[in-house]
């Protein structure tokens, strides 16, 4: 039976919109922007949690690196580092759609239908080449 990774509703909007948005945060004290979100304190300046303001970050950026993973219970899959236009460099699953992606490729977020834990269909945020 194929294992699927469940959706992460705290990380992004998965309402089926064409342009999914990432739930990042930005420190109101020093301006440090980050994703994934956390509410413990600012890594850059130590500001308290209440100063870490939610910031919606467009799912658009540039590929820094990507690799195919062959040795893993969920393999094969591709993961990459994407420098979001909003600032943070994030790690995400990549849908290569058969193409070889090189660093510098423009990327966009997309929602991919997968099977949830209880068999229901859920949406998982992945990245694809922007021109695909």
């Amino acid at each position: 039976m194929t294992r699927r990774v469940p959706v992460e509703p705290t990380l992004y909007d998965a309402d089926g919109s064409a342009a999914p948005v990432l739930h990042g945060r930005r420190c109101a004290s020093c301006g440090h922007a980050f994703f994934p979100p956390q509410g413990y304190g600012c890594e850059a300046c130590g500001a308290l949690p209440e100063l870490l303001a939610p910031e919606e970050m467009p799912g658009a950026g540039t590929l820094v690196a990507s690799v195919d993973v062959r040795s893993h219970p969920l393999a094969p899959f591709t993961v990459g580092i994407i420098a979001l236009d909003a600032g943070p460099a994030i790690r995400a699953v990549i849908e290569t759609q058969g193409a070889t992606l090189t660093p510098g490729t423009r990327m966009r977020a997309t929602l991919v239908a997968t099977d949830g834990r209880d068999g229901s269909e859920v949406s998982e945020l992945r990245f694809v080449a922007a021109d695909s």
């Binding site: 990774v5 992460e8 705290t10 990380l11 440090h32 994934p36 956390q38 890594e43 850059a44 820094v64 690196a65 990507s66 690799v67 195919d68 993973v69 062959r70 040795s71 893993h72 219970p73 969920l74 899959f77 993961v79 990459g80 580092i81 420098a83 600032g87 460099a89 994030i90 790690r91 995400a92 699953v93 090189t102 660093p103 945020l125």
Partner: protein, 383 residues
């Protein structure tokens, strides 16, 4: 601003010992550790009652490791501390032993590394954070991503990255304490399917069991006990640092190593050109290239071409991981950082046998631990 190690009392490595790094076996950690400590005592010409403090680097064994093992040397009542700092646990234990002697709290202290291949409970996974990749991001995948970025940035090929593993297995084949003691050709290294990106199995370190021990002493202890000064090696600097926030998509692993090494070299009062031997954290082949450049041993993007030219071979410009490194000597976690100091000490004494780098006088040990932390020590032969 606090003091540097060199502002305090001089610290000398006077004894080193190892238990071979190997696949997990029925050998208890007690036997592993005692073998290394007894080896170091014999090497130093010391008896256990002379040792005044024991720091045990271990990450996987659970609590109360130190005395469970060391009581069988004769229970002398000395302070014993376990040191956990991920892959840098052993390096950190060595630093603690050095600081004990440098500050004058002890005249003689021992750093031990011991572990067996148990699955650790990783604190970062229990911080209550979610991300987009979850369990997909294993260490091999993280470093495969750094390799992909590096190869594209500098026009380096997968074969050039794999040559790190060829060199380090060649060194490890000459090390009777290495986990992997077999030379490997480029075809051997690239002959298996990659686990992630370009990284094949032989470009990933084996994690097994083993032990390492290093005894450090003050000048007064060396004098008082008549230890062999010509075989002692001075610890010029000890720097332990943790990751900061680096802007944009910078390679954070490289930045941490850059900062830590620069500090360790400055505190030692030397430059990279003075380094004859480097033991580097080569858990994955690509790391050696990235870290050599971050250390400033060569320019950005130059490490792979220099590797091909033999610059990092024993007998080359600077011997890099003459022990075989993590890739071939192995990475049993707790022992690894202590074992690096063992290798550098042997190299600087001229006692490394057919792994000897000619004329080695100055060496640097570098470890990184997930989290991330970085430890760098600079050692120099007796004048």
């Amino acid at each position: 601003m606090g003091a540097a190690l060199r502002d305090l009392r001089p610290v000398h490595v006077v004894g080193v010992g190892l238990h071979r790094y190997q696949r997990g076996s029925d050998t208890t950690f007690v036997t592993l550790g005692l073998t290394a400590v007894r080896g170091a005592l014999t090497d130093a010409g010391l008896d256990w009652p002379e040792v005044e403090a024991a720091y045990t680097g271990t990450a996987l064994l659970g609590f109360a490791v130190g005395r469970t093992m060391l009581r069988y040397l004769g229970a002398t009542g000395i302070p014993m501390v376990q040191v956990e700092n991920a892959s840098a646990s052993g390096s950190t234990a060595f630093r603690m032993a050095c600081l004990d002697v440098a500050t004058g709290i002890s005249d003689i202290a021992v750093a031990i590394g011991v572990d067996k291949p148990e699955m650790p409970r990783l604190a970062p996974a229990r911080a209550g954070l979610r991300d987009l990749v979850g369990s997909r991001m294993l260490p091999v995948t993280h470093f495969a991503l750094l390799a992909d970025e590096y190869m594209h940035r500098y026009g380096v090929t997968p074969e050039q990255v794999a040559l790190v593993a060829v060199k380090n297995h060649r060194n490890g084949a000459r090390n009777p304490f290495a986990h992997r003691q077999k030379e490997r050709t480029l075809d051997d290294v690239l002959g298996e399917d990659p686990l992630a990106g370009v990284l094949t199995r032989l470009q990933c370190c084996p994690i097994g069991e083993g032990a390492a021990a290093v005894i450090v002493a003050s000048d007064s202890a060396v004098e008082r006990l008549g230890l062999n000064r010509s075989r002692s090696v001075q610890v010029l600097s000890s720097v332990l640092a943790s990751e900061r926030v680096y802007p944009g998509a910078a390679n954070w692993d490289a930045e941490l190593t850059r900062e830590t090494t620069a500090c360790a070299l400055a505190e030692a009062g030397i430059g990279t050109a003075d380094l004859d031997v480097i033991e580097v954290h080569d858990a994955f082949s690509i790391e050696e290239l990235i870290y050599l450049e971050a250390m400033g041993v060569c320019g950005q993007g130059e490490a792979a071409a220099l590797l091909t030219d033999g610059a990092w071979d024993i007998g080359g410009r600077c011997a890099v991981s003459p022990s075989g490194g993590l890739l071939s000597m192995g990475h049993p976690i707790g022992p690894t950082g202590v074992g690096q100091v063992v290798e550098i000490t042997r190299q600087l004494r001229g006692e490394a046998g057919d792994r000897q780098h000619p004329g080695a006088r100055t060496g640097l040990a570098h470890m990184v631990g997930v989290g991330a932390v970085c430890a760098v020590h600079v050692l120099r032969t007796a004048e």
